[in-house]
Every structure is written in C-alpha cells, then in structure tokens.
C-alpha cells in the first residue's frame, strides 16, 4: 500500500521550488508540490474514528485521484471503513464504518478541535 500517490504525498515544507534545467529528462522528473489535502483527510478521519472508539485492524490509507480523496481500512472485526472527500467539496469529508456514516462535515473543524487544548 506504499504508493507515491497514496496518503502522505504531503511534500509541504521540504521542497521550496520545483522545476529546473533545460534537460527534458530532468524536467520530466519534477512534479508540483501537493498532497496536503490527502494528509489532512487521513489525519482527520483517524481522529473521527478514534473519537468513536473504533478499533482498527487496518488504519485507513488514502489516495487522491483528480480532486477526490478516498481512504479505505477495516475494523478489528473486519468491517470496512470508508472515507471520502469529494473534489466538489474538498473541505468536507464523510467517514463511514460499514453502512453507518459516523461523520460528515468539514475536515478543518476536526483538525482544529484535536490540535487545541480541551
């Protein structure tokens, strides 16, 4: 499950600039900075699951295709965990365990809550 297009492609912080050189092969190796959205969704989804006392066998791993982020995992009992953040509403996500949606709402609201002292 360790693919470059999965979760943590959050390059932010390490790189500053992209692109360089007149050489075609060099330019071909360079990609825009990206991935924060994926990382944010993953972190917020795990926060939601832990708040709901969901015990996980497989912690959700996430990928981004176009603007949509999807994550899949499973509970210790084998129930699928599904997280989606549609491109049309990139600031929102929904977290479902099996057929039950346990969260639908803003990603940043979850991140802010968990980064703050009670």
């Amino acid at each position: 499950m360790s693919k470059a297009h999965l979760v943590g492609a959050a390059l932010l912080g390490a790189p500053l600039l992209l692109g360089v050189s007149a050489c075609g092969s060099q330019i071909a190796g360079l990609k825009p900075v990206g991935g924060d959205t994926v990382y944010k969704v993953r972190v917020a989804a795990i926060d939601v699951l832990l708040d709901a006392n969901v015990v996980m066998k497989s912690v959700p791993s996430c990928k981004q295709e176009a603007a949509e982020v999807t994550c899949t995992g499973s509970t210790l009992d084998g129930v699928p965990i599904t997280v989606t953040s549609p491109g049309s509403r990139a600031d929102d996500m929904s977290v479902a365990v099996g057929d039950k949606t346990i969260y639908q709402g803003p990603v940043m609201e979850i991140l802010n809550k968990h980064a703050s002292a009670p």
């Binding site: 390490a14 790189p15 600039l17 007149a22 190796g29 210790l76």
Partner: protein, 595 residues
Amino acid sequence: MSGLSRRSFLGTVAALSAAWGIPGTALGAQLAATPTTSEALSTLDRTIRFGPVQRGSFRRLVAAAGEKHVARVDLLGRPADAGRSSRRRSLFYCAHLSDIHVIDAQSPARLEPLVAISPSLFQGAFRPQDALTTHVGAEMVRSVAGLRISQVTGAPLAAAFVTGDSADQVSQLETRWYINLMDGTPFVANSGAPSIYEGVQAWQETPWAYHPADPTNDVYGNYGFPQVPGLLEAAVSVRVSSGGLPTPWYSVYGNHDTLYMGTFGIPAGIKEFALGRHKYFSGPGVALNYVQDWAADAAGLTRLWNFVSANVGTMLGTKTVTPDPARKILEQEDFMRAHFETTPHPGPVGHGFTKENLTTGKTYWSADVGPFIRIFGLDTCNQVAGPDGAVPEKQFMWLRDGLTQAERDGRLVMVLSHHNSFTLENTAELPTQPQRLVHADELVSLLLSHPNVVAWLNGHTHNSTITPHARSSGAPGGFWEITTASCVDFPQQQQVVEIVDNRDGTLSLFTTVLDHDAPPEWNGDLTSTGLASLSRQLAANDWRATPVMRIGSPLDRNTELLLPAPPVVTSFTDAQVQSSHAADFARVMSWERGW
C-alpha cells in the same frame, strides 16, 4: 542480570569501567538494579496544544495531557496478547531525528523574497522562525538526551539516526552548526557581522516578512504576531549549547543537504553570491509571470529559475550585508567530509560515512549497531534536480546484496533514508550518466522480500506518519515505515523508537514523540531556551504551513507497532541483550560525567 553468569557480569563491568573511565561500583549498581524508566518528559507525559487567542489570530500554546501508546495491529491482523508487557525484553532503543533544517538566516544564498511571489508555493523560502533553528536544535538534542533511558523498558539509548535535511541550504556553516548540535560543541549561530543581524527581518522593504522589532506594517503583524525587541540580536549572539547526544549518531543525506533550496543543481552564480555582500530583499517582479503556469508543468519554474540564475549578479533588489567566507555552498562530497570533523564522543567519526565513502564518492553506507541490528543508510536524493527522491540502480543492487548478507548474518534490519514511500518518485536523470532510478514500489517489494527488515525510518514531509507494509498473498508480517516530523515547522517534534521482543512470536516497535525541551509557553525569555520556545510559538501560527494538520493523528505519534517476529529473534540470547545494555549504560554514564 539473569542472562549473564556472575563471572561474565563482573568481567563485563570491569571491562566497561576501564573503557569508559567510570567507577565499577557505580556501573555495577546501575546494571544490577531493576530497570527504571526515565524521569524526563516525553509526550507520554505532556503534549503541547493550541490555547486561546493572544492577539488577532495569533494563538498561544499551552501544556496538555500526555498520550499513551496506542497499539497498531495492521501487520499482525489480530489483537495483541494482553500479557505481553510482562515478558518483554528490549532489543534496541534509538532516537530518530530528521529535517532539523539548521538555517543561516543571514546568508545571501537564501532567496526569501520568493515567498512574496507565491506564499503557498514558496512557503519554505521564509519562515518567521528562520533565525531560531539552532536554538530549537539544541533543545531537541537536550530532549533526546533526557530520554536516554527508555520510558517503556528502562533500556539505555543505543544510537541516534538523523535522516537528512540537517542543513537547509547546502551550506558549510549550517552543516557545521548541525554537527556541533549533535556533538555538543558550543557555538554562536551567527555569520557576517558580529552580534548584528543583517537580513530580511530587519529591513523595512520586506512587508512579507516578520519583523519582530516592529511587526506593525507586515503581514505577520496583521495576523497578530508579537513585537519582540531584541529577538534577532539575541538569535545571533546567544551561545548555543546542546549538551550533545549521549549515544553514537548516524546521518544520511537529505535533499537540502545536496541540492540548492532542496531542489536545484547548484549554479556557480549562487556559489559566488553566497559569499558576497549583496542579499535580496525583493523578488524580481517579472518572476511572477513565470509561475503562472507552474502547476501545469515545470516549464514556468524552469523559466523562473533561469531568470533568477541569470540575474543574481545584477544586484537589483539587494541590500548590502557583511560577507562571510564560512557561508560556502557545499559540494556533494563535502557533506560526508564534514562528518569526519567531529568530537571523539559520542562518535562514530564519520557518523555512518566511512573513509571508503570519501574515496569512492559513494554516498550510502551500512553499519552494525549493537549485536542484533544492521542499519542501511541510503541516499535517496536525486543529485540532478527535484525535491523528491529515488534509489539509483547501483545503490539498489548494493542494498539487495546487503539485505541478503544481513539475513545470513542473523541480523534484524532497519533502513534509513530521507525520502519516504510517498515521495520516492523522482525521475530526473543526467543524460550523460543514465542510470535506472528505482522508485517506491520496487524498494518496498525488495524490503518485503527480506523477513529480517522490521523498520524504515525517514522524514522529508515534516509530518509524523506511520505506514504498515504488509506482505501480499497471505504471507505473514511485513515492516513498519516510520516518518518523523521536523524541527523547523510546527510541532517541532522528533521521536524515539524501541524494538521490543514480546517473547510470544511478536515484536513491538514503540514510537514516542518528543517535543523539544523548551517550555510550551514563551515567557519573554531571550536565552537560547527561550528562543526555542518562541520558535515553536511562531511556527504554530505560521498559517502558510497549515500547523494544525502537522500534529498528525494519534496513530502516527505514540504507538506500539506490532508485527510477527522474524525467526532470527529466537536466536538472540538474554546474555547478549544484557551485555549490549551494559555497554550502552556505560556510555550513557560516561556522557553524564562529561565523557
């Protein structure tokens, strides 16, 4: 010490006492005592979280409750045995540092005005805490040293690993400061004029920067950043003294240790400019045009870079600073060479790099640390261009052969690299020196094919992330990839990692996140410790870096990562474990006594 016979125990104590110059009675008492865990604070005891707004949008940081380890069974596939904690023995306890990003904020080689061109794109070109990185590094080393005895098992620290981006700008001075931090050599983090800060945070022509003396007219002041008279002067005049690591430390390359701005091949013009008397306060306005289409492909940035490269000699938009030859930009091999200019303790000289590395130019290494662990220190940096990484085929074949040999030698394996599996997709290569570049999937497959591989430690993304890599087709186990945060962006955290044998056919890898040792709440103190505290406070409010995201999830912080134990673990004797701990205790005690 039930594993060692009395005779072996006494012999071990005598030998170690003589080797480290410490009293045998003290060492013997330490070794004979029931293991006690460290009294130092980690995030098991206390965390740091956002508190109330102080001014505008600027929020204070406050101490919050600690976080216990959370068990992860992704690679086990079943609940962990509840009785494991009563049986366990520690095989290896180490610290993992990464992305320290020591910055010489006054260097003309820094192009901070790029942040004004595109704050989101060039976020790393300027941070409000740029001048404070050495003070943070010192407090982080102090924090690691404080955890020299494991909070989980009472085992002593056996090694520390630094997985790249130790410097920020391929700078000789930054690299020296970082090595001084690890070794505990005191220094003043200044360049140019003595005790005077010359740079963008002191110039009024830079409204995009934070001006601590008077932020009224800059974007940070508008956000609510505090006025801190004397901050910059303190940053460049207060002595930095970390106390040094109490354990041998090992290093690998990061993209900021080998590429300009972590991304570009180093142009000759920049080398000269770094040593000169001109520093940019303004980005070339025309450059804005070049970044318009950057997201579509790299052409816009290429043109921008070509423009900047061509104009570094024009002095347009520069102010005069005091030149300093110590600001030299390093050649690739200089980074390795710098690791041989080090104190004899904690060592080892070269910090993973050997004379062979200097002779051959090979930038990766392997080393045995203790009786059970073999480390492979990779250089995943693309030497051509781009912040992301890859493994050149020649290095990949070396790793493949080395993993096979480690298996024959009965050693567990930990792999170190700067890049993680999400950022190992760089395809840039020199047409004159074509070499196949191996990317994440193939590297992970190789590691999974060797049952002795238990962990891959890395950094690069400045976020704590823990990723399981499971064997496919129903084969048991796999390994854990552990990515640590940075010292430069919030939350300025690193970690300790411990491999524990549960004696039930499973291993647990404990990861414990460390805040640096400076107080959570800055109280106006402008000592080195106070500056580190303020740095974290500033970083927490640097909205461009999305700080609330960087805290990560509890499953990426204090964790117990379970996996089926590789078969070789059953061959490790208790006597070996205890001899190893004795050697590490002796070293720690020697550090406590000033070596």
